[in-house]
Amino acid sequence: MSSYNYIIKYIIVGDSGVGKSCLLIQFTDKRFNAGRELTIGVEFGTRFISVDDKQIKLQIWDTAGQESFRSITQSYYRGAAGALLVYDISRRESFEHISTWLADVRRHANPHTTIVLVGNKSDLDESKRQVTSEEAERFAKENGIALFLETSAKSASNVEEVFVKTAENVYEKIKSGEFTSNETSGIRLGPVQKSSLSEETQGGACC
């Protein structure tokens, strides 16, 4: 039975086919699906990580299948502490749409939500690349996006880092008091509290 101090909710958005579900499956199950076994797996994944000795349960919502339906996806933004904006480095179009995804997140999510830009499919041959990491980095900087990483859900490169670094950023905000635990912040306290940050102690435990 494991215990955790916080539940943090993430949302993954981006164009269809950029690898949102694959990133999630790679992170939660450590496997890559090239359409060989399961297509969708889960609507959301959970995994425990530890940041600064705190057990954090990440609850990650995948918006696959709803990319063209902006009003529907809006309901997921509310109450997300972390938002991963994913594009495919070999599809320029998916990068150009990031500004629309960013505008959606900024409009509907909590103002303190940690936004992360993710260029997926970094395992692909350099000749297929249509977005340089410099350009994406510049975009992130210009638009006030806290983090930018290139990942490969296929080779698992940087996948762990994306999720963990986002959690570290959120955790910093919890510590500094920017985020408080409630329904709309996307952070809830876990059932077991050892932290000096804890605001309440809850009985019972689950794993």
Binding site: R36, E37, I40, V42, R47, T63, A64, G79, P191
Partner: protein, 357 residues
């Protein structure tokens, strides 16, 4: 096939660099996990059995299924409890593990892919119906015992039982099709007959946002309701997911059908009757999602206007007015003067002063 991922004694170092060592970490195979699990009894090396679904598709037909090869050691092995909610659902979610090996061996690779995709559609539909039933049994029914909950049950769950009805019928039809043969021949007809009944998904989806609002409001206003929510969410049946996680499943599911069906379609040979039928099902689903999206947008807009109107002391909007709200400032608020909000509604700019009375 990997039979064992490893035998970990409590002294084994965890592979995760972030593992604190003296207590367990996020890794599902962290040796410290077993220390805390076995402390109650005695220190025993924990044997880790592989998750069946992680096994690759066997290339050699002579190998028996992984599950039958797992020896029953004494004391019984501690099977890893994984931290992913997905794993539980995946345990029996591969077609190749559900049929005799002779069937697998006599099936072409493309057909195996098609069967796996069909199997996933059916398994996820069974899971979905299971979640719909859970809401009925653990939330709607107990809450409905108290007449004073009538309004909140209506708002939060809306036409949940209609969706349960429609989806149960689809699930049963798919399972019947599955039981006819080890290899499903076609599903196009079944799906076409049922997606036409999916109207309740739209009705639910367009109200979902309002339902969520009332749920949060009721939790704040009614401590007994809040207590019920807390207790129910901690029940084992809730599988560690809060109510809101279940409430979004209906629209999520609608969006997942096209992904599942496109995968089936990809592996369906051109002359197969499903080719045309699935194409038609996909068109209907696309239409449903588009309509839902439009209605969600409209409902959200209407609800936001009502929220503003409710707070106005005079000049309340009338329900008949067709109002168009243009947000001129994100969230309507001024950061330098937080008690002011500005909205353009139709041809008027409203600058509202917020007072608490």
């Amino acid at each position: 096939i990997e039979l064992y991922q490893g035998v970990y004694t409590p002294l084994t170092r965890c592979y995760a660099s972030r593992c604190p060592g003296d207590q367990t970490c996020y890794s599902h195979s962290c040796p410290r996990k077993f220390v805390s699990d076995t402390k109650r009894d005695t220190f025993q090396p924990a044997t880790v059995t592989p998750n069946i679904s992680n096994a690759p598709i066997p290339s050699s037909p002579s190998l028996p299924a992984a599950s039958t090869l797992t020896p029953p050691p004494l004391p019984p092995p501690l099977t890893i409890k994984t931290n992913t909610t997905s794993t539980r659902q995946q345990q029996h979610s591969l077609w190749i593990h559900s049929v005799p090996r002779t069937i697998v061996c006599t099936t072409s690779l493309a057909e195996r892919h098609r069967q796996e995709a069909l199997y996933e559609l059916i398994q996820t539909e069974i899971d979905f119906v299971g979640h719909l039933r859970y809401i009925k049994k653990c939330w709607i029914e107990p809450l409905s015992l108290q007449p004073q909950n009538e309004s909140i049950v209506k708002h939060v769950f809306w036409n949940w039982l209609d969706i349960l009805h429609v989806s149960t019928r689809l699930m049963e039809a798919l399972v019947t099709r599955q039981q006819e043969d080890h290899r499903i021949r076609h599903v196009g007809g079944v799906l076409l007959a049922h997606v036409g009944q999916f109207e309740p998904f739209i009705i639910y989806g367009s109200h979902q946002m309002v339902g969520k609002f009332y749920l949060e409001l009721e939790k704040k206003r009614n401590p007994r309701f809040a207590q019920f929510v807390k207790e129910t969410e901690q029940r084992p049946e809730s599988e560690r997911l809060e109510l809101n996680g279940y409430l979004t499943k209906v629209t999520t599911r609608l969006g997942r059908y096209p992904i599942l069906l496109n995968t089936i379609l990809k592996w369906t040979p051109a002359g197969h009757p499903d080719h045309e039928l699935l194409g038609r099902v996909l068109e209907i689903l696309e239409g449903l999602l588009l309509r839902l999206d439009g209605q969600v947008g409209q409902a959200t807009h209407q609800f936001e206007l009502e929220q503003i109107s409710d707070r106005l002391l005079f000049n309340k909007f009338s329900a008949q007015q067709s109002l168009v709200k243009t947000r001129i400032i994100e969230g309507g608020g001024f950061s330098f003067f937080p008690s002011l909000e500005a909205h353009v509604i139709n041809h008027l700019l409203y600058i509202l002063h917020i007072t608490y009375i």
